[in-house]
Amino acid sequence: MHDFLEIIKESIATLFLNKLRTGLAILGIVIGIGSVIALLSLGQATQQTIQNQIQSLGSNLLSITPGSINAGAIRGAQGGATTLTNDDATAIQTSPQITDVAAVSPTYTGRVQVVAGGNNTNTSVIGVTPSYAVVSNVQVAEGNFITTQDQQALTRVAVVGPQAAANLFSDGADPIGQLIRINNIAFHIVGVTVSKGGTGFLNQDDNIYIPLSTAQEEVFGVTHLTSISVQVKSADLMTDAENQIGYVLLSRHKLQNPTQADFSILSEADILQAATTTTNTFTALLSGIAAISLLVGGIGIMNIMLVSVTERTREIGLRKALGAKKQVIVTQFLIEALLLTFIGGIIGILLGIGVSLLLSTLIKIGFVISVSSILLAFIVSAGIGVLFGWYPARRAANLQPIEALRYE
């Protein structure tokens, strides 16, 4: 195209002529691009945070949970059944058919009210055996973890997470040696775990650990387990271990085939994948919403350009009378639309980065901004310029010069 620079200069002058209208058209794109960037960043940051948390649970991990209770045609919640027992855990450890397992950690988890002096909190109390520390990668910062003696003697001792300790002893007193009441039963705190970070229901820093035997017999009055975590010897034996455990448990539960299984075995990869799928859906949903606002912004541009074409009918007629070919008119209007979306796109990208920075400090998730999302936003805004600018530009170029000149 000849005289590109001159056309751009003229376009800027034209856009400056009606500042309010130009500003509003740009605002539509700013909001659209800004929300795309911010929401993509939010989605990616959430995904990364969840992945980090799952990975911090420990590697080479298999998690066995009971199935649902089914009464006739009514299917209960997954994990609600009481079919998983201490004997299942022992069998996994000792069965000659299972060769790939390094450690087994049976647990019973319940949410109860915990009281210490004047403070109380509602948190997860987990009945564990000593192997939990190895399998779930939990380290003790102070004192010690649940021991085999504790498990055998049903001692009333507890190991607390740093968050739980902070909730219970808000005056900053050393929790070791203190008494807490779990379901009205007094427990001595013997240890505090190292912080693993994390938020929400995945926050392991808020847990309280007690011996599994004590949990089952004294606190919750049950004989079953809520899950069995298994550490496999190495990552490439995961599938083998899964099959071996599945086979042993099926025969122990007297079930013929895997479709009847009253338990499920999940590997860390499965959990990661499930979480990734969830956050991907979440990100896609957010992007969808952002895309709608971007679309609305684009239609705003088209609207403004159509008004501009109508307003400048005489000018277009004159230009055509002076010998402007269709392409020249199309280019002129396309450049105006592109300028609008480009300016909007750049401001929108900056705004999006600002908003996601703000969000990351407000809700304490990581700040992730990928080059690809900025690139995407840029291409999309240019695309919107061409897409929504093309129709008005075409309309301008196809105006008949006499019609255009007659227009008042």
Partner: protein, 283 residues
């Protein structure tokens, strides 16, 4: 290409010869004779050759005949006024002459080129290179400077930028506005705006200068000035066709064509051409 060169080369000598030999307003009779003569004349002295042109507007309810079998020709160097009451078809005729519209029937040859069956872009090219427009409402773009306004047709014609600015400056000086190059059109009077429009119409050195009521929107003293410029550029060899309803203005031309009900009712040489005086050369 060869024909064009011959045409340009023989410009001056043939023009005077032919004008002397053949009365201008009878050129179309000559054009009706055997083809060799006609082509020779067309290449050398005929700017506009219209034969049996009609324009019919068709709407669902009715048919309107705006032009009904009109034929005439205009030689190089003529200054023609087309007159007629409103609704006579003179605007339609101007649109066809300006390649802004195409006739329903008939042929239109402008400067040796058949205009009737051309695409929109080809017509745009014809308007750019062969026709200079002067409108009643001036039609200058207010957002750009006068200099840029005059440069516009050269931009569409693909002329190099340096040449454009030089030429635009030169033509604005010619119409006496050399000191207002960077003004915008809403800072000057109607008469001055029309002079800018004349400069813009002339920069591409068109075969035909087409003016539609050029003095319709300006004061009479300035109208006189515009007519003076028209006569001046006509004397330099430019062909001018001017549409007007004012007999006073038409008197400045050399030939007056009267149109009524889509037909030519009179086509006469104006023997008493009124000379306009140029009031001031610069302002």
């Amino acid at each position: 290409m060869a024909q064009e060169q011959v045409e340009q080369g023989d410009n001056k000598s043939d023009e005077t010869q032919l004008v002397l030999r053949v009365p201008e307003h009878q050129n179309y009779l000559i054009a009706g004779k055997p083809s060799s003569i006609r082509v020779y004349l067309k290449m050398n002295s005929i700017t506009i050759d219209i034969s049996h042109i009609s324009k019919i507007y068709q709407t669902e309810a009715m048919q309107t005949v705006a032009l009904d079998d009109v034929s005439f020709s205009i030689s190089k160097g003529e200054f023609v006024a087309i007159m007629g009451p409103s609704g006579s078809g003179k605007s339609t005729l101007m649109h066809i002459l300006g390649a802004l519209d195409t006739p329903t029937n008939g042929t239109y040859i402008l400067d040796g080129q058949n205009v009737e069956k051309l695409s929109d872009d080809e017509l745009a090219d014809i308007r750019n290179k062969k026709i200079g427009f002067i409108f009643q409402a001036f039609n200058l773009l207010p957002r750009i400077t006068l200099l840029q306004n005059v440069m516009l047709p050269m931009r569409y014609g693909g002329m190099p930028e340096k040449e454009r600015e030089e030429k635009a400056r030169q033509y604005l000086e010619m119409v006496g506005l050399g000191k207002r190059l960077s003004h915008s059109s809403n800072q000057i009077s109607g008469g001055q705006q029309q002079r800018v429009a004349i400069a813009r119409a002339l920069v591409m050195n068109p075969a035909l200068l087409l003016a539609d009521e050029p003095t319709g929107n300006i004061a009479s003293a300035q109208a006189e000035e515009i007519m003076a410029i028209f006569q001046e550029i006509n004397n330099r060899g430019h062909t001018i066709v001017m549409i007007t309803h004012e007999p006073d203005i038409a008197e400045h031309s050399k030939r007056i064509i009267h149109v009524k009900d889509g037909k030519i009712i009179a086509d006469d040489r104006n023997k008493k051409q009124k000379k306009a005086k140029r009031l001031h050369t610069t302002d």
